[in-house]
């Protein structure tokens, strides 16, 4: 059975075809008819079916409503009726006693449009509070604010098809190769089809995207505005701006000209830490100095958004497009790449604390009146709600008393985890509506409401290019899970009974039989708005596939490109230049915190990893948390590659291994955003828990967008003096892995540093999956604790061999099964890991090593060849294999790549590894055929 749906990961919005046998999802492939991906899927998307395996559903999902009678106590399963009554009772109580603004709803850009709509109406319509915000605030709100500030509406004006028409691509603050792999495939295609296409990449890190650039500007953190101003200065000086466009379609250019006057390329380059001629080159290419009429397309993402000056960065970039007329035509425009699958859809229904349905503004009385009329209410509340950070700060301060969190994991993803945890602890009642039972936030829930997830849900989403796609269920909701919109509506109806005065005489505000009826109400709310979709219906989506908004009544299709007529959704129809001032990072480095912490995404992981983190194979690319640093900084600190370091900010700390890399500039350290407390923990010397990477990050947010500066914090780095080490690896039955990981996770606070992650390759022939555990401490752990960990890793006294020197804190244990090393735990001296890890991971024959497996030696009993770094996740191809094969390839780079792919299949499925393959091809020496 095949079901067309949409991938739940990033904002590219790829179409997927789900294969199922009716009860179980059995496969997934890219939908060749979906315009976003044309049949392609990345590593994450192409393994979606594996995350829906029955073992994972049974062990990792939340399948039944539950409550906790005491904080920190055990969960008690309850029925839905009790759960919904409890939620409604508690919410109604808080509203009656403290007013509706004492309730906070925190949602997610991964909810579907229909879910979002129901929640938004519940908060702003029924309860009468604007305290509803979502994790889109951490993701896209600066892009929204930037668009609105300059173009007048929250609408990316471009489409993916513009990639093929662009002459210059300006990729800034986006590691597209990793964060949006399918778009990167399209970019590669575009470049191949359009040989003159030039790529400029601006990033603080030399990312895989940067490696592909024709011009790479490695700017200092937070200096984007200086760069754009400097580029505009060059354009003005060299007469590269488009005076006709500026005159006809914009306002406010003079003020901007004044602003950039001082931003000479020399000054801008100095602030950005780049070469002046590179800045000038970028300005010329952007303005198409040598190709009049050429098109420039900007692609940007979190590098601009997750900043205390996020709105300014977005606006300053859009300034460049407006000043050069690079907007409103094929291949041109400022194209914000959305992080989440439905951040767009959420905003369309007004699912943020400052928005109302259909891109209406809370601050606008006319907009409020329109929404109230749509909902049949006398009014909707005018007081702006609390944005994400503000909401948790208010909860920490006791002003918000009840939190309802749906489809997101603030205890992982919000900045300043110490504050977030205070909020979750202080809130009188915390409702967590979730699909997965393993998120850090679940631990704080008083009430757990089990939700459906990908493959089960029904509704719609909107991707980066304003494209509305249907999400369809392939299998029934497992256990007692319910759709998010259903849960919202069920609670809302109970609230209507408890707060009848809020109905103003209506029978119900939630007369929905299904998701489609909610969508129809949403559609009606868009009439006459910039995102008008009154010409669209679920039936139309069913018959004609996806559509881009706007598609007003009577239109036959959506619009791929906005502002082609030069008329903008502002009062005067003109786009507005934003003469923003350059502001440095919110927390500059200083003597006590001399390093810049940069966060980012990994290629094969998604957000807090509640879904991708269930698959060992997605850890083949980056197997463990590391702090990537410049080799010179490691030297200067007296550190070696692989040393454990404590990274500390004013708010918290983490311990992880330092890794020397060429991607990170001096003075910086890069830690991916994924490593939350679920996988990386410990307790510092003062007994303060380490809360993952966001224990370090900064809650300071952009005044315009309220988006926090997740991308930059000042940190210190010191060698972690934790001589006692522990590493354990085990192959365990898939059905047990989650339990074992959760049990190990519960033990992490006992150590100064600990981590637990999966490894391996699903589906495994023996139905096994890998778990790797590490812990470090200043002194050896208690024998009982070591024994507990050993038992969790399947090292019991009946089958595992064991070496123990308690006085020296040495404990090593290993279990052989079928001649293979199935479990191993090394504690104290862990040097043997260097070769034992390979025996375990690669499942090599190990019977012959016997008890020598327990000898603490960095030298293996016999030489063991490691498979090496996995490059291709789909076909499990490693770097050494590729290098070896390339030694037999001949001809041009493209020819050698093709031969390589023919031989090893690497990069022939999802293509996420193509940038690496190209790099390896480039670095290899072609075999020269010897003439006959």
């Amino acid at each position: 059975m095949q079901t067309r749906s949409t991938c739940p990961y990033c904002g590219v919005g790829c179409g997927v075809i789900i294969e199922s046998d009716g009860t179980q999802i059995t496969g997934v492939r890219g939908d060749p008819e979906h315009p976003a991906n044309l049949g392609r899927l990345c590593t994450k998307g192409s393994t979606l079916h594996l995350t829906a395996a029955s073992e994972i559903t049974r062990s990792a999902r939340l399948l039944q409503p539950a409550r906790r009678l005491a904080r920190g106590g055990p969960l008690q399963a309850i029925d839905w009726s009790t759960a919904l009554d409890t939620a409604a009772d508690r919410i109604a109580d808080v509203v009656r006693q403290h007013g509706p603004d004492a309730v906070g709803l925190y949602l997610s850009g991964q909810l579907l449009t229909e879910d979002y709509y129901a929640f938004n109406k519940l908060a702003k319509g029924l309860l009468g509070t604007n305290n509803i915000d979502t994790n889109s605030r951490l993701c896209m709100s600066s892009a929204v604010a930037g668009y609105k500030k300059t173009l007048g509406a929250d609408a990316p004006p471009c489409s993916y098809e513009d990639f093929a028409h662009a002459d210059t691509l300006f990729i800034t603050g986006s590691n597209t190769a990793w964060a949006h792999p399918i778009l990167f495939r399209r970019l590669e295609d575009a470049r191949a089809a359009r040989p003159g296409q030039r790529w400029i990449v601006v990033d603080v890190r030399r990312t895989e995207t940067a490696e592909t650039a024709d011009l790479f500007l490695q700017i200092r953190p937070g200096t984007d505005v200086a760069l754009y101003h400097g580029m505009l200065h060059v354009m003005l000086a060299e007469g590269l701006t488009d005076a006709r466009y500026i005159g006809a379609h914009t306002s406010g250019f003079e003020a901007l000209r004044e602003t950039v006057r001082d931003w000479t390329p020399a000054r801008a380059a100095a602030v950005c830490g780049i070469v002046e001629t590179d800045l000038i080159q970028a300005a010329r290419w952007f303005a198409q100095a040598d190709r009049p009429g050429g098109a420039t397309l900007s692609l940007y993402c979190m590098g601009l958004n997750q900043s205390a000056a996020g709105t300014d960065k977005n606006a300053a970039l859009i300034n460049l497009h407006l000043a050069t007329g690079q907007i409103g035509r094929a291949g041109a425009g400022p194209f914000s790449l959305t992080g989440q699958p439905n951040a767009m859809g959420g905003r369309e229904v007004g699912g943020l604390s400052n928005l109302l349905s259909a891109h209406r503004d809370l601050a606008n009385p006319a907009h409020r009146a329109e929404v109230a009329a749509l909902w049949g209410l006398p009014d909707v509340p005018a007081t702006p709600g609390r944005s994400a950070v503000e909401m948790f700060e208010a909860a920490a301060d006791g002003e918000i008393r009840l939190l309802w969190i749906a489809c997101t994991n603030p205890a992982q993803s919000m900045p300043d985890q110490a504050m977030v945890r205070r909020a979750l602890e202080r809130a009188e009642f915390v409702i967590v509506q979730e699909a997965f039972a393993t998120t850090a936030t679940v631990a704080y829930a008083d009430l757990l409401l089990p939700a459906t997830t990908w493959g089960e849900k029904i509704g719609s989403v909107t991707n980066s290019e304003r494209r509305i796609s249907r999400v369809r269920p392939a299998v029934a909701a497992p256990g007692e899970t319910r759709h998010d919109w259903q849960i919202a509506v069920d609670v809302a109806r109970r609230l209507e009974e408890r707060l009848p005065e809020r109905l103003h005489g209506q029978a119900t505000l939630f007369p929905y039989a299904d998701a489609e009826s909610i969508w129809n109400e949403h559609r009606e709310s868009t009439r006459g708005r910039d995102l008008d979709i009154t010409g669209l219906s679920w039936a139309h989506l069913e018959q004609h596939g996806t559509q881009q908004w706007p598609m007003p009544e009577g239109a036959l299709a959506g619009r791929p490109r906005l502002y082609e007529d030069g008329i903008f959704p502002t009062e005067d129809g003109r786009a507005r230049f934003a003469p923003v001032a350059f502001r440095p990072v919110a927390e500059p480095v200083d003597a006590p915190y001399p390093f810049s912490l940069i966060s980012g995404r990994l290629r094969d992981q998604w957000h807090g990893m509640s879904r991708t983190g269930t698959l060992g194979r997605l850890f083949g690319h980056v197997p463990e948390p590391v702090a990537e640093m410049n080799a010179a900084d490691l030297d200067a600190l007296g550190l070696k590659d692989g040393d454990l370091v404590e990274v500390r900010s004013r708010r918290g700390s983490v311990v992880l291994a330092a890794q020397a890399g060429g991607a990170v500039a001096r003075g910086q350290v890069s830690i991916p955003m994924h490593w939350g407390e679920e996988v990386l923990g410990g307790t510092d010397a003062d007994g303060v828990p380490r809360r993952g990477v966001n224990g370090l990050t900064l809650p300071t947010f952009c005044p315009g967008s309220k988006q926090p500066e997740l991308k930059h914090s000042a940190v210190s780095i010191a060698k972690a003096e934790l001589p006692w080490r522990m590493v354990g690896m085990a192959w365990l039955p898939q059905a047990e892995i989650v339990r074992v990981r959760e049990s190990l996770r519960a033990l992490m606070p006992a150590f100064a540093h600990a981590m637990v992650l999966p490894f391996g390759r699903e589906p495994h022939d023996g139905g096994l999956g890998g778990v790797i555990w590490r812990a470090s401490a200043a002194t050896p752990a208690e024998a009982a604790l070591i024994a507990e960990i050993a038992a969790l890793l399947g090292l019991d006294g009946r089958t595992a061999m064991r070496y123990e020197d308690a006085e020296r804190g040495q404990f090593r244990s290993a279990r052989l099964d079928g001649g293979r090393l199935r479990s191993v735990l090394l504690a104290g001296d862990t040097r043997a890991e260097s070769w034992i890890r390979t025996l375990v991971k690669d499942e090599l024959p190990a019977q012959a090593y016997g008890r020598r497996l327990l000898a603490a030696s960095a030298t293996p009993p016999v030489a063991i060849t490691e498979r090496g770094r996995q490059v291709c996740t789909c076909f499990n191809v490693t770097e050494p294999q590729i290098v070896e094969q390339l030694g037999r390839c001949e001809g041009s780079a493209e020819a050698r790549l093709s031969q390589l792919q023919g031989a090893l299949k690497c990069g022939t499925n999802c293509g996420s590894c193509l940038p690496v393959l190209r790099g390896l091809v480039k670095a290899s020496i072609p075999l020269v055929p010897v003439a006959g």
């Binding site: 061999m801 064991r802 070496y803 020197d805 006085e807 016997g850 020598r852 327990l854 000898a855 030696s857």
Partner: protein
């Protein structure tokens, strides 16, 4: 010089062998042996019982050896009196006749006697010790005609007896006072591994079990042939044969009657100096299980041979050697079961332990360290490094870096440190 030796066992005859090497003509030698056999390897009685060796194969010195060296040998002859004043020993032959022999030098090599706990019924027919060829033959015979055997004592000898009887087809239960088997030679872990291995061979065990009485087949249960053993907890174990292997006592009756000083009222052996000379009479030496050196009466062969060498050197008037005591190592002679222990393998609060176990291969190793030195080892399953550990214990050398590799054996350790 007339040299008389009382006892014809392994320790004593080893003295003669050594002596004859260094001073073949110095003495006119007479040997009295209570058993009717020439010197045989008592340690190998267990393989004989197990059917793996024959009696002929375990003879160490055939009669021709005595003849060749001109030794006067009185077999089946029990010495009853030592007349120190006349320097004469008086003995009784098996036929009841008496002979005597005078000496210039006298060696007491009287060995030890099995300790028979004085429980009711210990004199019943079918209740035996396990000490010599006669006992072994009794057991072999019993195994042919009887079904149930109980061995009292889970020490080395008891387990070897039990194993042999089991191999000969009997249902065997070992009754042991201690909490684990070989509790003087193994730690609890190794003891339990051993028990599992023996249970797998069909042996049964009653641990922490004290014998209350042996019951006979006479009507009052106090006479006739043994039929059962009753434990303090009331359990009765059927027994057609009871082998007492509850320990040995140095055989000092003769020495005490001659006025030689013995430790612990004789239970501790004949007190000797570092040259194995009795402290009471300069013409008399004692060697082997009957001797108490610095308070210790050894029951294992290795120290006895060391004593023999020292004594022979003195008798041969060539040596200035001193016996200063032995570290002992334990091995169990049950085919297929390898265990080894040496030194202070139990350890204590002031010691450190390194453990290795491999339950699949049935291997367990414990090494005990004190102040950076190896002081004890207990090995089960893989005893290949036993002698290396034994050397390290005796040498008392500081281990240093060797500690980390110690457990993995000599080959690996030497390679790792090279």
């Amino acid at each position: 010089m007339k040299l008389v030796m009382i006892g014809n066992g392994m320790a004593g005859v080893r003295v003669l062998e050594e002596l004859l090497k260094i001073a073949p003509d110095l003495h006119d030698i007479t040997v009295f042996g209570a058993e009717p056999h020439p010197n045989y390897n008592r340690i190998m009685l267990s393989p004989v019982l197990a059917g793996e060796q024959t009696l002929d194969q375990i003879v160490l010195n055939p009669l021709s050896w005595y003849e060749r060296h001109g030794i006067t040998l009185h077999l089946g002859t029990t010495v009853t009196t030592i007349d120190r004043a006349r320097r004469q020993v008086i003995a009784t032959r098996a036929d009841g006749t008496t002979i005597s022999a005078s000496y210039d030098r006298l060696i007491l090599a009287t060995g030890s006697t099995p300790f028979i706990p004085p429980v009711p019924g210990h004199r019943l027919e079918g209740v035996i010790a396990y000490r010599d060829i006669a006992d072994t033959e009794t057991m072999i015979e019993a195994a042919r005609t009887r079904r149930h055997a109980v061995v009292v004592g889970g020490g080395l000898l008891g387990l070897e007896a039990a194993n042999g009887l089991k191999l000969r087809g009997m249902e065997v239960t070992v009754v042991h006072l201690g909490a684990w088997l070989l509790d003087r030679q193994l730690d609890p872990t190794a003891g339990r591994l051993l028990q599992q291995a023996l249970e797998a061979r069909g042996l049964r065990f009653a641990l922490q079990a004290q014998t209350e009485a042996l019951l006979g087949d006479a009507e009052d249960g106090q006479a006739g042939r043994v039929r059962a053993l009753r434990l303090k907890d009331g359990r009765e174990i059927p027994a057609d044969l009871v082998v007492m292997a509850a320990g040995i006592r140095p055989n000092t009756a003769l020495a005490r009657s001659a006025g030689l000083l013995c430790d612990h009222d004789g239970r501790g052996g004949i007190r000797v100096s570092d040259t194995m000379q009795t402290v009471t009479d300069a013409r008399i030496w004692a060697v082997g299980e009957c001797a108490s050196h610095r308070g210790i009466a050894y029951g294992l062969v290795a120290p006895l041979y060391e004593q023999a060498r020292v004594l022979a050197a003195h008798l041969g008037e060539t040596g200035v050697g001193r016996y200063t005591g032995s570290q002992t190592a334990t091995r169990l002679k049950v085919t297929g079961i390898d265990l080894f222990s040496a030194g202070d393998f139990m350890g204590g609060d002031d010691s450190e332990q390194i453990l290795l176990s491999d339950p699949v291969d049935g291997v367990y190793r414990k090494l005990v360290l004190r102040e950076g030195r190896l002081v004890g080892a207990c090995l089960y399953g893989d005893t290949s490094d036993g002698s290396w550990y034994f050397d390290l214990i005796r040498e008392g050398a500081t281990l240093g870096e060797l500690r980390e590799q110690l457990m993995f054996g000599r080959t690996g350790a030497v390679a790792a440190l090279a």
